[in-house]
């Protein structure tokens, strides 16, 4: 299988069908996938889980993806954690905000499955 085998990813997303799709893709690629659907305690969950990668939605209940990202970057231990951000709000302003908050990679929905796969692989340096 691929190089990503055994890597751990936390997926923060609230749309059930999208969770299903990404879980399917990453699992098949050899990732261990944990999911979470709420923005409010997402940073806490991530800190506890210490994954190799985070896939983060922007529109989350409780707290927006930008806020979660800022929280992660504020933590010295998680400052360099690769974060792939997915958003359905495709305006340029959202990309700028994400980059300012220190995102590693930014993709708009709907995405191409193969692009997501190559992006996550790149992010973990595999």
């Amino acid at each position: 299988m691929d190089q990503a085998t055994g890597k751990h990813v936390v997926l923060v997303e609230d749309e059930l069908n999208i969770i299903e799709a990404i879980r399917f893709l990453l699992s098949r690629d050899g990732w261990r996938v944990d999911t979470h659907s709420n923005g409010a305690d997402a940073a806490q969950i991530i800190r506890a889980a210490r994954p190799d990668l985070v896939v983060l939605d922007v529109m989350l209940p409780g707290k927006s993806g930008f806020d979660v990202l800022a929280e992660l970057r504020g933590d010295p231990e998680l400052r360099h954690l690769p974060v792939l951000m997915l958003t359905a709000r495709g305006q340029a302003r959202d990309r700028e905000m994400a980059e300012a908050a220190g995102v590693s990679r930014f993709m708009t929905k709907p995405f191409s499955n193969s692009e997501v796969l190559s992006a996550v692989r790149e992010l973990v340096g595999a």
Partner: protein, 890 residues
């Protein structure tokens, strides 16, 4: 016994000497402060007003009645109406005259229109020209009455009217000079003259009454017989030509106000405004007595006197023909009194005007260095007045000679009346209308006066004297519209009515039009405000300024005008008021203003204003300069007011623009947020669809169950996407008001049942639905499908979001005054208060996410209910989640 002419002259001289004594005594008493009750009594004031009744009324009224019947009444009617009905207006005139120390009618008009001396000159000239025929009239009547005596005196066969008239004129002139210009009085008050006039008023009234009594009881044989004679004669016939009566009444009323001599006794000599109150009934009473015996004398005279006798002299000739020389003598004295009192007061008034407005300004201009360096101005003033008196009486004599003693007395009197009546628009406009301007007054006066000269004065000399017959018949320059008795083609009118109509109408129109078209100067505006608001006691706003060193100059000048004693009194009084008794007072603006008024009493407002101005402001700054500055600053003020208004306007516009911009920004933000929402709502299902379709396409060896599962996800998301687009389109149509309602009849129950069936068919949780309330069968007329859409949305919301273990929805239908009410109440957890207003907005979802709703449902419901004329609200206090749909009654 026949009265000899010499006796008559002796009696006259004696009478004059008596009047002198009375006047002299009155003046002395006045100076010593005695007999104030008499000098300042309303009785004397009322009697002095009787100079309205001149020799014209004394002799002429009888002649008038003999010629034209009862028309002579109009001459008494006008003044009576003014006194009785317009008492408040007279009071205003008197108040203005007293508070501004007005010396004449010319001074009043000049003072009102910005102390304009040009206006004063115009009015003065008009008054002189207008009054001259009147003075001629007095000469004529005295001469005529003398000739009656001469005719019956065998000792004087060579009586010559022209030389007699000259002697009468000279006598009157001397009399007036001696009477009126003995000293220069402050305020132009002449107590002596007024008392003498009052005595003469009594004499003429008693004389006329005596003749009347003699005629009625002595000649006609009693009241009944007199009445019978009147009925038998043509005079008694009640013949009234409407427009002539109205014109004459108006004319006499106007003349009563505008005649210089009337203004003199009524306003200038007035001691107390309250006297007007008494005069308002006492003077009409006097006129009534004067007119009482006019008709009997005329009727009996026509019966008894030989044909061809001059009816103007019946008052004299009737007693004379009956051998009553004593009564005739008395009657002659009555007429003589009427003539002399009129001539004295009229020439005094005119001489004041001429010296104040013509001579003094010229004198001041010619004498370089101005008022402070000229000699005793008082001598100049007195001399100019004496010369003026002589000049005016001389003009009267000339007029008498030129007109050849033509026409009846009454006709000449009317010419005079119409001439001075031209002052009326400028005068009344000045005291009642702030918008009246100097140019308006000048233009109106000029127009009226020119018309009067052309239509009345010049024709009065008779045809072929001044105006040729050709002009009378074909008009000036051959223009038919300019015939003196048919101006602008107005033919068939009585010449008097014609002249009064045109001159007064055009005078008023021009006055008003020019006033409206021109802008008053600051001083005009100031004076206008003070005149119009004279009862508000507004203080004068304008002020002089002078340095202390100028007090002496002011003193010197005041002495020259007021006389040293009066001037010193004024200055000492002011010094005491300022608390520096014994010194010269400070020239405060207040004092200068008072001094100006004192001086105005002697030399008129315009001259006093200029004289004070020369000292107070120094010769470097003239009054004209100041006025120019004031004009300029008034214009600048106006300009800056305009600018201020503009800038206010601009800032208002800016505020509106800012508001509009804020609104636009907000709308733009809302639009961004809306697009962002739409983008999110569309992309989310598309993400699942794209992702799973790629999985199905690219993944090898998926088992059948997974394939089916993923395909159904794609299916569900595609449906969600479709519904979202449907909702968006629906909302867009509703919001734009493009929706077409399909109104139908139906019942609420029907609509509810269909919605419940549809909701249940859609699956979802097992929701227990109960319908209650008695309103299901209520017929409604509305768009049933749209209403059903709202109901369905509320039911499916309950299906989706009701969090109870055994979800139940209660639907309650009721009728109220507001309309049909349908409540949807479930047993869920309710909506938090802060979300209740938000949830009807687009893309608002309560609580956690949902996979199958874009948050448009309630927004659509609200739009639909608005279109249907009803509303949808959250229903509080139900224990669960409650919505109330209200539908108006049909």
């Amino acid at each position: 016994m026949m009265a000899s002419l010499n006796t008559l002259v002796l009696v006259c001289l004696g009478y004059v000497a008596f009047l002198f004594a009375v006047a002299f005594a009155a003046e002395r008493a006045g100076k010593q402060g005695r007999a104030g009750w008499l000098l300042h009594s309303p009785l004397v004031y009322t009697l002095s007003l009787s100079i309205y009744c001149t020799a014209w009324t004394f002799y002429g009224a009888v002649g008038y009645a003999a010629r034209s019947g009862l028309e002579y009444v109009t001459i008494y009617l006008g003044p009576s109406l003014v006194m009785i009905a317009w008492w408040w207006g007279l009071r205003r005139l008197v108040r203005i005259g007293r508070s501004h120390k007005v010396t004449s009618v010319a001074d009043l008009i000049s003072s009102r229109y910005g102390k304009s001396n040009s206006l004063a000159i115009v009015v003065t000239l008009m008054a002189v020209i207008g009054v001259t025929p009147y003075i001629a009239l007095q000469l004529q009547s005295v001469t005529l009455s003398l000739s009656i005596f001469a005719g019956s005196d065998p000792g004087n066969p060579g009586f010559e009217t022209s030389s007699a008239a000259l002697w009468v004129a000279a006598g009157l002139a001397l009399f007036t000079v001696l009477f009126g210009t003995r000293n220069l009085n402050v305020n132009e008050r002449h107590h002596g003259v007024v008392i003498a006039v009052a005595v003469e008023a009594v004499v003429k009234l008693v004389a006329l009454l005596a003749v009347g009594v003699f005629v009625v009881w002595g000649l006609a044989g009693g009241l009944a017989q007199t009445m019978a004679r009147i009925d038998a004669s043509a005079i008694g016939a009640w013949q009234i030509a409407g427009n002539r009566w109205a014109s004459l009444t108006f004319l006499s009323a106007a003349a009563f106000l505008c005649l210089p001599r009337m203004f003199q006794v009524m306003v200038v000599e007035n001691d107390d405004e309250r006297h007007l109150q008494i005069a308002s009934w006492a003077f009409p009473l006097y006129l009534l007595l004067m007119s009482l015996f006019v008709v009997p004398i005329a009727v009996v005279g026509l019966d008894l006197m030989p044909a061809g006798s001059n009816p103007d002299l019946f008052v004299l000739s009737l007693p004379l023909s009956q051998g009553q020389s004593g009564l005739a003598m008395f009657s002659f004295l009555g007429g003589f009194s009427s003539a002399t009192s009129m001539v004295i007061v009229a020439t005094l008034a005119l001489s004041t005007m001429v010296s104040n407005h013509v001579v003094m300004p010229i004198f001041l201009a010619v004498r370089s260095g101005g008022a402070s360096q000229s000699g005793d101005v008082r001598d100049v003033v007195l001399m100019s007045r004496r010369l003026t008196i002589l000049g005016i009486i001389a003009m009267g004599y000339v007029y008498y000679r030129v007109s050849g003693g033509s026409g009846a007395l009454a006709a000449i009197g009317l010419i005079s009346f119409a001439g001075v009546a031209q002052f009326l628009p400028a005068m009344l406009g000045g005291i009642f209308w702030r918008g009246a301007t100097r140019l308006g007054a000048l233009a109106g006066l000029g127009t009226g006066f020119a018309l009067w000269v052309y239509t009345m004065l010049l024709p009065s000399f008779g045809p072929e004297t001044v105006l040729s017959n050709q002009i009378f018949e074909r008009g000036l320059f051959g223009l038919g519209g300019l015939r003196p008795h048919a101006l602008f083609g107005l033919e068939g009118l009585d010449p008097v009515v014609h002249a009064v109509f045109w001159s007064m109408t055009l005078n008023t129109i021009v006055f008003v039009a020019v006033s409206l078209a021109t802008f008053p100067r600051p001083l005009e505006r100031l004076q206008g405000a003070q005149f119009v608001n004279v009862f508000d006691h507004t203080p004068q706003a304008r002020g002089w300024s002078a340095t202390a060193a100028q007090s002496e100059d002011l003193m010197i000048m005041a002495q020259r005008i007021l006389g040293s004693r009066d001037a010193q009194a004024v200055f000492a009084q002011e010094a005491a008021r300022q608390g520096i008794a014994g010194h010269l007072p400070e020239p405060t603006p207040d004092f200068l203003r008072r001094l100006e008024r004192e001086l105005a009493g002697s030399v008129g407002a315009a001259t006093a204003h200029a004289m004070i101005g020369q000292i107070a402001q120094g010769s470097a700054v003239s009054v004209q300069d100041l006025m120019a500055v004031a004009d300029e600053s008034a214009q600048m003020l106006e300009y800056s007011n305009q600018l201020e208004a503009k800038s206010k306007e601009l800032s208002e516009t800016a505020a509106q623009l800012r508001l509009a911009n804020d609104k636009l920004t907000q709308i733009s933000r809302q639009k961004d947020a809306f697009l962002s929402q739409i983008s999110h709502e569309l992309r989310t299902p598309m993400t699942s669809i794209r992702s799973f379709s790629e999985i199905l396409r690219d993944t090898q060896g998926l088992d059948a169950a997974d394939q089916k599962k993923y395909a159904s996800i794609i299916h569900v998301e595609a449906i969600r996407l479709t519904r979202l687009l449907d909702d968006l389109l629906d909302l867009s149509v509703l919001e734009n008001g493009q929706v077409i309602l399909n109104l139908e009849e139906g019942t609420l129950g029907q609509v509810l049942d269909q919605a419940i069936t549809t909701a249940k068919a859609g699956g979802g949780t097992a929701l227990g639905i109960t319908c209650e309330g008695g309103g299901q069968q209520t017929p409604v007329r509305t768009d049933l499908d749209r209403l059903g859409q709202v109901f369905l949305n509320l039911i499916t919301n309950a299906q989706k979001y009701c969090a109870a273990d055994q979800p139940a929805l209660r639907i309650h239908v009721a009728q109220t005054d507001q309309g049909h009410i349908v409540d949807f109440i479930d047993n869920g957890s309710g909506v938090p208060a802060e979300s209740r207003t938000m949830m009807f907005e687009k893309f608002s979802r309560i609580g956690a996410h949902s996979s199958d709703g874009a948050g448009l449902g309630l927004a659509i419901c609200r739009e639909i209910m608005t279109r249907l004329g009803g509303q949808i609200d959250y229903l509080d206090g139900t224990g669960g989640t409650g919505f109330r749909v209200t539908l108006p009654r049909a």
